[in-house]
Symmetry: D2
Subunit: 330 residues, 4 copies
Amino acid sequence: MPLSISVIGAGRIGRIHARNVAAHASVRLAGVADVDTAAAKALSEACGAPAISVDEAFAADAVLIASPTPTHADYIERATAAGRAIFCEKPIDLAVDRVRACLKAVRDAQVPLMVGFNRRFDEHFAALKRRMDGGEIGELELLTIISRDPAPPPPAYVATSGGLFRDMMIHDLDMARFMLGEEPLAVHAAASCLVDPSIAAAGDVDTAVVTLRTASGKLCQISNSRRATYGYDQRIEAHGSKGLLRAGNVRATTVELATETGFLGDPVLPFFLERYAAAYRAELDAFITAVTGGKAPRPDGGDGLKALLLADAATRSAQTGQAVQPQLAD
Amino acid sequence: MPLSISVIGAGRIGRIHARNVAAHASVRLAGVADVDTAAAKALSEACGAPAISVDEAFAADAVLIASPTPTHADYIERATAAGRAIFCEKPIDLAVDRVRACLKAVRDAQVPLMVGFNRRFDEHFAALKRRMDGGEIGELELLTIISRDPAPPPPAYVATSGGLFRDMMIHDLDMARFMLGEEPLAVHAAASCLVDPSIAAAGDVDTAVVTLRTASGKLCQISNSRRATYGYDQRIEAHGSKGLLRAGNVRATTVELATETGFLGDPVLPFFLERYAAAYRAELDAFITAVTGGKAPRPDGGDGLKALLLADAATRSAQTGQAVQPQLAD
Amino acid sequence: MPLSISVIGAGRIGRIHARNVAAHASVRLAGVADVDTAAAKALSEACGAPAISVDEAFAADAVLIASPTPTHADYIERATAAGRAIFCEKPIDLAVDRVRACLKAVRDAQVPLMVGFNRRFDEHFAALKRRMDGGEIGELELLTIISRDPAPPPPAYVATSGGLFRDMMIHDLDMARFMLGEEPLAVHAAASCLVDPSIAAAGDVDTAVVTLRTASGKLCQISNSRRATYGYDQRIEAHGSKGLLRAGNVRATTVELATETGFLGDPVLPFFLERYAAAYRAELDAFITAVTGGKAPRPDGGDGLKALLLADAATRSAQTGQAVQPQLAD
Amino acid sequence: MPLSISVIGAGRIGRIHARNVAAHASVRLAGVADVDTAAAKALSEACGAPAISVDEAFAADAVLIASPTPTHADYIERATAAGRAIFCEKPIDLAVDRVRACLKAVRDAQVPLMVGFNRRFDEHFAALKRRMDGGEIGELELLTIISRDPAPPPPAYVATSGGLFRDMMIHDLDMARFMLGEEPLAVHAAASCLVDPSIAAAGDVDTAVVTLRTASGKLCQISNSRRATYGYDQRIEAHGSKGLLRAGNVRATTVELATETGFLGDPVLPFFLERYAAAYRAELDAFITAVTGGKAPRPDGGDGLKALLLADAATRSAQTGQAVQPQLAD
């Protein structure tokens, strides 16, 4: 019997996951649930699976939680109570205490929990990591992460997002931990609202830079912006004792036009749906492989918590202008 | 009722097509046939479809012919007699007379026939063509096509392949016609055996260049080799009155390693299965769209014939050292 | 009568300047002075000019100071007393008070003083700045400066260098001011010794990152390392409201080798002598143009002071872990 | 005593050479001669050398001939009679018989003669050649040369130029010989007038492609056009048994602008003055080194003759449509 996976959430990210589950050769999509039952029905049908209720979702072997953030921790706890394997989109919750409580339940019940930091599965970043781990640049010294969204989210989204550091940079903070192989001891952030005044009105920023420093002295610079006219800018550079490994942006085609004004190449892929399409599939596959193989999936709840703690530290640092020591113990 | 498509041929290229048919949302894979019934069975099962006999294949709405070249014309004629829509891998046949006879039957029966020149559907080349047609480089003047296989085929393949011009360059000759928008009036070829002496022993060449000239004076240079240590080299440059459009090679990742020796990027994708994976899907989709919409698919039998006539002309030119005027009337 | 320029200092940087003065079409090299008279003689002869004493150097129309850092302020004051136009290599002095006293004398005497921040004259960075000022990326939001030396300097140099921030990053801090068009209000630095333990033994660092924030909220990230196996890494990215302008590294040739391992391009130019050869000429030309045209040259003493104040702030920040507000009033 | 070099010809190419001679550390510019004495005077003064008569030019140790093509052979013979070392711009003459007669005189007198095929000294192409000779791509199999001028020359120039093959492609034919390391046995050309009808009216073409084949079967494709909106396109690709070496175009800066429309890099350098500035210096230096060292300079008269013979063969091939066997014996 193939593993059955239910998907909760029929929004943008739920659609990605439901389709990937449906197309995966070795699992079965048990159904899609959403409080918006029309959305659940439409997505289910498109995937050749039944629309189910949220209650029914917890009957599948594994539950993939892609609903709005405030529901994540509750759904994790319900799936935990039912003894299901869990894949939850990031973040587990915007409040550290709530995350800790949720993770305690998961630990106590010993159910597998994977958190959706999809970039670890991007083929370019994954190849960089694999080659770095293989020693191609010796010892890592300095990491540079550039991550820019094409355009700011709508004001309503900003208001409940937890702010740029928890909503957007949390991905880069996870990548920093993933790449550094050490926990950051100090976090410094500086941030501004330069793109959209309504973001400042909502108490948030849209342009931000962060510095991390680890125990052994490795350094990491991250920059984020809610604006990039040329597409979804996603780059990593890893400088080590023997050289540099970097992973660049991806473009739709290799076509180049040369005229009097110069050589014009494609913009980079528009946004995460395009850039990370293969990463979402690889991420799901890693979850399935871990669950069916009885291995603990990664990134796990602890990774989710630590990225949130770093995002909290960055938020405080940006507000005070001073560096912050995050406490990353589980 | 969705269109049913049978696939004849369970070899390397048949596997690509059968899987793409099976995965296509709006058609049904009626089954896979092969004189090697074990191969047909294995591929059918992998695609969730029945293994069928060649005779049964002609009962589907459309027949996709991916069997060895010597069988193509016969199968086209049988599918024609059955009134089916036909997709046939290139070439229709290695003999022009046989192709002409086959196409006459197709024309008389007025069945749709598409020939598998997959490169027209490569997203990079298709974008180049679309933008050239959109006027971005003004009037086309000079076309450069570089096409190099990673390694020579086995001697047994070479012996029955019809030679480099009919087997390999035929793709580039089709692309030349596609891009030039005019028929070549003169063909000049020069060729050598530099890669593998067993190819010369089989009477063939492995390194070849061709020049085409059209009625309006447009020029085209094609180069082919059976060797490219760095991957499957597939490039087109179109020089026009207003500028240059070019489509380059595709690499597995954007990762770059910088050390004392310089900056090292990935090799290009290894071969056609990787480079043209999306093109095969787009090609199939174009066939389905044409057939279900009642439109004549392209490239059609005439395109298949003309590419073969150009390949024949190139073969003669390489043998005599003199330019040849191909007669491209249908 | 062409402007006569004397050069004080016959070391590595003095050689660059003396040769550029000698080769400049509209000025005359009055001679080269150095306390090492043999070095002065050798360089003078190579430039077809007399070896002169330091005292004699102040008789030329303009004095180019390329001697060791501790002598800069004294020589500036002597040239000032003699009423000469002055070009001084960075830094004016490692002590802010000494710089301030020196600049007061310059101001009082109203002699022209240009400070040698050569990167402003790099053709790539200058083009980036000119195009940014021309509005191509709208309003600047985020600046990224990457600057890596190929290898650490000898320990003896480190001991008297003033530390990485005053010796190396001072160039990037000047470029940040030049590009930002606003003064940084806050400086945060993090630094490590990862390349060479002898640098830590000398109380210095070899890997450092800095964050700057201006009054209007513009952000700037700088990274420095004393190690880059692939050459002298010098890059700037300017992200603005309308797009990105970036200037990359320069390589000796465009030659690329493609093999099984991938595509290998040249390393970047080895160090500043190669990368900034043209910049040194353009810098000298700007000095000559300003002096002969009666205009105040830039970057001037105030620029030299402000870059030093930023380097001091970065040094303190790296030591304390906390952001520092530099006081950049002249 | 340094070698004295006179320059005959104060036009565009004479200016390059006279300035390079004047700036060269180990030779002396004896003067510039031109039948246009005002031009000779202006250029001489700019180079700090006397204006001299053509007769006086032959009194220098070496004579650099940069006058109009019809004068080359006469001046070579006069310099030969005077026993001078000779550098002559390409071509020696447009008529093969005249070239042969001239070269006989040079051989009989045993004076050194170098012909100005400047591209051999381009740092990018020279590095490619050096690395190919060093075995990086194994045995050369296929060479691709792309060479496009930014815009057609004036009609008056075309009329006396000898035609595209002798005037423009002769450079590429020399590069082909230089790179192939073997003489072409067969030449095929196809050409059109697509850029400027006045070129056809003058009996010439502006777009041309050539195929060369050597005794061992090495192949070479050359393409030329009198139009390239994006700058002076100068590229070479050498495909060998172990891989590919290629040398690309050169751009003024590395600056890139990224916006909604994509990533825009600089056009390539505008024309030969910019692209080959360093090559002209290296070429002169090679001439001086050979002459002062008593070595025969290369490329020599034989290289000049052979390139012309190939150009003649290409011209005939383009007219007849048939391949031509050039007779390259000296």
